[in-house]
Point group: C2
Chain length 95, copies 2
């Protein structure tokens, strides 16, 4: 995963934290497109974030791309099998 300013990594915080991050990125910089990246249970938060941003705050945003995938994570301590986890990316752009 890259660290460019057009990317917001979704974790375990409430969706509103990420909504704020997206709004800040769009309003502070030259970002024309922001991509939300999430894994596992955070996928739901990513969808919530995109929907809240679009319906309440930046109504001219369009979802430009949605993709899903699978990532292999190293095994947890005490386990010996690597884990497969689902990933999702949602890109939003100004028209």
């Amino acid at each position: 995963m890259s660290r460019d300013p057009g990317t917001v990594f979704i974790g375990r915080k409430p969706a509103m934290s990420y909504v704020l991050a997206v709004i800040t990125s769009f309003s502070s910089g030259n970002a024309k497109e922001i991509t939300l990246k999430a894994r596992g249970q955070a996928i739901t938060t990513a969808v919530d974030t995109a929907e809240i941003v679009r319906s309440r705050f930046l109504k001219d945003l369009k979802i430009s791309k949605i993709s899903i995938g699978t990532e292999e994570l190293p095994p947890r301590e005490g386990e010996n099998r690597s884990r497969m986890v689902s990933t999702m990316e949602i890109s939003m752009a100004k028209e």
Copy 2:
């Protein structure tokens, strides 16, 4: 939400239950396209289901469409505000 045979509603069961439903639909009928529909926390399960079907079982499937949205649910008993919940639809089709 419609009840046509090309739709699989994702709920609280483990992803493997829905994987089986998708495989059955594709192999038993004339379905060329199956759409997974999920709300809230089940969105993660929908992504897991799509990824497991595609990587382990039906490798010729392509994700034909992914969309997200918001649905308004009636308030829970004792509350007086309706709840907004995120939704997701993933369509998978044979090539």
